[in-house]
Amino acid sequence: MIAQFTSPRLLRSLLPAFSLTVILLAIFYLQPRAMSYFGLNLLLNLALPIAFATLAQMCVITVNDLDLGIGAFVGFVACVGVTWLNDQPLVGILILAACIVAYGAMGALIHVRNLPSIVVTLGMSFVWLGLALLVLPTPGGKAPAIVTWVMKFKTPLVPMTIYASIAIALIVHVALKRSAYGAVLRGVGGNPQSVERASWSLIRAKITMYAMAGFFGVLSGISLIGLTSAADANIALRYTLLSIAGVILGGGEFVGGRISPIGAVLGAITLTLAGSFLSFLRISPDWQIGAQGAILIIVLALRALINRSEARKPA
């Protein structure tokens, strides 16, 4: 019975929650005032857009690819959001829908031509950035009122971000980890040949995952402008690396279709908090990126330790 509770598989899945708890406790210790509705709201303000971007990245990682354009894509969505979506909502929605289709098409292209995803998505990141600059050459614009209202909505007990994070984590968990087609989608990451031999369409799976990535990218951009109320083409460029870090921090792996949606959301929140934590420690912003990297390395080292204890276990 005890062996079951200390099994490496369980430990591995608890690691993201553990890292989040540790960093949260550290913040509360450093700054007890953060332990309030207002404090939490301030701390977790930007967590939701990052969580969406992380889920987008996770969709692509599920099928053994990597998206280096998600940050620029979120930036483009934000720019569309503060211009077209505000001025002519219908056109705005059409553009965003076309974005999702474009993401699906990118997945199809990568699969059919057997291209490296990093190259294609990196190339596309410049396309998104260019388009964003065309739409919004200078920072500004105005987010649609409804978006701002939703993002600033005051929920009872704890801030909206927490409810929303729990909800999306559970929805994506059910879709990818519990649904019947979700098993096939993850199987594509694990052993594409086997999935294909069971007469599933690989290209359909790739298009689905890339379109889902596009969808979450759009949600990320829209939720971002709801908080900032204005946008700029470069607003989300750092999301690319943050999202990858979030997926890995959340227990995902680069290859093999091993992913965890709940972990990814926890990872995104942990990364958001890490920034605040370092500010509370009075670490200058110049050092923060390095310090975030250090946090990432610590968590990955813990995971490597768990994996090693698993390898030592006799088969």
Partner: protein, 495 residues
């Protein structure tokens, strides 16, 4: 219900070529309902290719396929026939054909139940997980009582034997499509004797209830005991097909080998180089004192034989990794050109000179003139068919790419050359040229350790070691070498 005399699968004059290599040369195959068909043959006989065609993974280059009988089990009695053009994996599944592949084909990141779901598109909707678990566990219980596998374990966490059990159970599980034929390609390779026996009992049960099975195994006793009929393949063709009762282990081995021809000629001019003192390389690939040690003397061509995947490549890699400890300069000629051999973005010249880059340095920098000279010299020496060594390596045909890899090894200062079945997919003309070269280089004092899956190539070797399950089980000099002996040693004796 089934007409027991009408074959469920009928292949006629099926051919398959990969470039210059003919893998199947006009194969006829009938599989009757309620029959277990044993399929034996040595490396490259075409067994796997034939099964891949049957499973719809590869398309035949020519020939006809006919699936008499009632298509998808539940459907009408309509006669369905598939031609080479429209036959694929989904069609094979519709015909009720399942396959357990030699290389395991489960998704390691999914649970046992989820892997069962991947196989069965119709397990979906509410509680699919419960139904998938029930299905796979029931099947596991039926075939392997005491399997000790639970449905929500990740396949990646299972031992290799358990994975194989899951894979087999998955192939036999039925949801809505009836199963008419299960192909088992080396299904017992990682099962212990007891579990393997359970599987064979199940195969008989399945066959007695009207299903059909194709059983490929290197354990001849297993094939002899379980099959109704045995098909012997050699060089891409069927050479014998008789009821299993008419075969013995001896006669099967004989049927697999080609007719003994000029073996005496090869044996006659053989002078063992082994009288001259101690071997300069000696290794026991099995690690423990399980098998015979392999020795190599200076100037020898040592052949590694046996069925593919029985530890030959691992042994070569192992020797290469320990080259510093042995204090021997070695070069490695890879068998899988595309993944381990060539640098696809480089020129032919660069692909050749990389093996001897240390000799081409001048003041720590690469001497381009000398590099070009080396490449040109080897182009002429082994006749790589290209006007210019500065062309990209991919501009060459497969055989000539392989020559460039030989040039890389031979051009290097290494005095021992390890070869990992390098002649795969190389045309016969190129092969003859390379054989000549190897012989000349061995005369000049170089040692070759040569893993090959082709019987003919063993005849160029001074000494042949036959591998089985990671250990050497036979040591033959060129004088003693016959195909029979190699086959006998490759196929396991019942213990």
């Amino acid at each position: 219900m089934n007409d027991m005399s009408k074959p469920i699968v009928k292949l006629s004059s099926v051919e398959k070529s990969f470039g210059a290599v003919r893998a199947l040369d006009g194969v006829d195959l009938d599989i009757l309902p309620g029959e277990c068909l044993g399929l034996v043959g040595h490396n490259g006989a075409g067994k796997s290719t034939l099964m891949n065609i049957l499973a719809g993974i590869q398309k035949p280059s020519a020939g006809f396929m006919d699936f008499g009988g009632d298509g998808d089990g539940g459907g009408g009695g309509e006669r369905s026939s598939a031609t080479a053009a429209n036959y694929d994996v989904s069609e094979a599944r519709r015909q009720g054909i399942r396959c357990v592949f030699q290389e395991l084909s489960l998704c390691p990141n999914l649970t046992v139940a989820e892997n069962a779901r991947i196989q069965h598109a119709s397990i979906k909707g509410w509680n699919w997980r419960g139904r998938a678990s029930e299905l796979i566990l029931a099947q596991l219980d039926q075939i392997f009582p005491n399997h000790g596998i639970s449905a929500d374990e990740l396949v990646g966490d299972l031992s290799i034997a358990k994975r194989q059990m899951v894979e087999i159970a998955r192939a036999f599980s039925i949801v809505d499509q009836n199963i008419r034929l299960v192909i088992l390609d080396e299904p017992t390779s990682s099962l212990d004797a007891l579990v393997a026996e359970e599987l064979m009992v199940h195969v008989r049960r399945f066959v007695d209830s009207g299903g059909s099975c194709v059983l490929i195994s290197h354990l001849l006793e297993e094939v002899l005991e379980t099959s109704d009929r045995i098909l012997v393949m050699r060089d891409g063709g069927v050479v014998d097909s008789r009821p299993a009762a008419e075969f013995s282990r001896q006669s099967l081995v004989e049927a697999m080998g080609s007719v003994a021809k000029d073996e005496a000629v090869h044996g006659r001019d053989f002078n063992s180089k082994r009288q001259q003192g101690t071997p300069y390389l000696s290794i026991d690939p099995s690690g423990a004192q399980r098998g015979i040690a392999m020795n190599a003397h200076k100037g020898e061509i040592v052949g590694l034989a046996g069925l593919s995947g029985h530890g030959q490549t691992d042994t070569l890699v192992n020797i290469y990794n320990k080259r510093r400890r042995y204090g021997i300069d070695m070069a490695f000629v890879a068998g899988d050109r595309q993944s381990d051999g060539i640098f696809p973005l480089w020129t032919i010249g660069q692909n050749i000179s990389i093996g001897s880059i240390r000799n081409l340095l001048r003041f720590g920098l690469l001497d381009l003139e000398q590099e070009a000279k080396l490449a040109e010299q080897w182009r002429q020496k082994i006749a790589i068919r290209t006007p210019n060594v500065n062309d990209n390596i991919l501009s060459l045909s497969g055989g000539n790419q392989q020559k460039a890899l030989f040039a890389r090894a031979l051009g290097s200062p290494a005095d021992t050359i390890l070869m990992d079945d390098p002649m795969r997919g190389v045309d016969i003309g190129t092969k003859q040229e390379v054989y000549e070269m190897i012989r000349a280089e061995a005369e000049a004092g170089r040692t070759f350790i040569w893993y090959t899956t082709e019987m003919d190539e063993l005849k160029h070797c001074d000494h042949v070691y036959v591998f089985r399950n990671g250990a050497i089980v036979a040591d033959l000099t060129r004088g003693e070498l016959t195909e029979q002996k190699v086959l006998h040693a490759s196929f396991e004796e019942a213990s």
